[in-house]
Amino acid sequence: MAHQRKAVALISGGLDSLLAARVMLEQNIHVEGINFYTGFCVEGHTHAIRKKHQLKPKRNNALWSAEQLGIKLHIIDISEEYKDIVINPKHGYGQNLNPCLDCKIFMVNQARAWGFMADNDFDFIITGEVIGQRPKSQRKETMPVIARESGVNDRLLRPLCAKNLPETLPEREGWVDRDALYGFHGRNRKPQMALAEQFGFTDYAQPAGGCCFLTDANYSKKLADLWQARGERKYEIDDIMLLKIGRHIRPAQNYKVIIGREEGENNYLEGYRKQFAHIRIESHFGPLTLVDGTPDQEDLLQAARIAARFSQGRDAGEVRVEICVPGLDNRFVNVSPIPAQELPKNWYV
């Protein structure tokens, strides 16, 4: 009996990677999935922080894909190493701060490092890429760039568009049958949907705009603001998590306020109260407000006035707030909520 070959499949949780892995299983390849956590992943659970999304199913789509396929899924935290990709992308950004081509090269390289290590001993790597599917990273010209710069070369197989690409090692060696691969191309999703139906997949994830917050214009704007305010292009994981949460208002370069929009966000922000100066509304019902940066006493009073504006005391003459700064005694002050006309639109990040 022929030796069963092993493939590592990059599983994003979307339809294409699900189908690519399934096509390999059809050819009796042993497939295991790999999924990367960058810190920018759009996951149902991040949205689930916000109460209005809690009726949506809280599932991890990559795990869901693995279950549908009956394969193992290894989730790898690359968030630290990934910073350099976001900050210094060799191939530049897409429409927003999305370094899609560098990201794909990095992930395929990471899959190579994991899959080809002696303990794992995989033979090749597969992705769900389709030529022409994405304007930055999935173009005919970029396919060989990814294979070359990831170091995977001809051990990188794209089962959904392989027929539009040169033969790879798994095809040449007869590990997989090229005739049973596909020649999908372009942004039309109908071929994938038809194949999903053929395989009996329903209820698969169809994320609009991809699975990464960096493709989101509003999110990218907040990250650009963070870098601009700090005067350097750096971030910590807590920074990028907080960019997903709350209302961000920057009255000055040295500080911004992050205001919970609802109970779920307030609960999440509570977890940061020991690290950040924060403001609680005492006299009325109101959100928790974090103050990020290096605010002085006057800034904190201004932040308190902004926080009061988003409380139920917004129309009151005065609102009593508690200002908490790590390492200092908490103080209670009465402030007047900032009127709408004193809160310029350009303060909203």
């Binding site: 149902g44 659970h45 795990l63 899924l73 290894h74 989730i75």
Partner: protein
């Protein structure tokens, strides 16, 4: 005595404050160091673990013992079942 018959002290893993998939990743990393049959209790604050850790256990063949919510803390207890 085979490892299946040993009684292991319960291991605990605190993932409170982390959002999914980080609790799953931390669970995955901890289990690498545990023996077959060991019991791991994961404490979390993200309700997503109620879905994700059981799904991860099913994918890898580990045995989910139970889940429990106490106030804002969520407990997921599982038994390590390695190939």
């Amino acid at each position: 005595m085979s490892s299946e018959n040993k009684t292991f002290p319960k291991q605990t893993l605190d993932t409170r404050g982390l959002l999914c998939p980080l609790p799953v990743i931390r669970t995955q990393d901890r289990i690498k160091d545990l023996q077959n049959g060991a019991v791991l209790e994961v404490v979390a604050s993200d309700p997503g673990v109620l879905h994700d850790i059981p799904a991860w256990c099913r994918v890898h063949g580990h045995h989910l013992i139970e889940t429990e919510q106490v106030g804002l803390d969520i407990y997921v207890r599982l038994r390590v079942c390695k190939d």
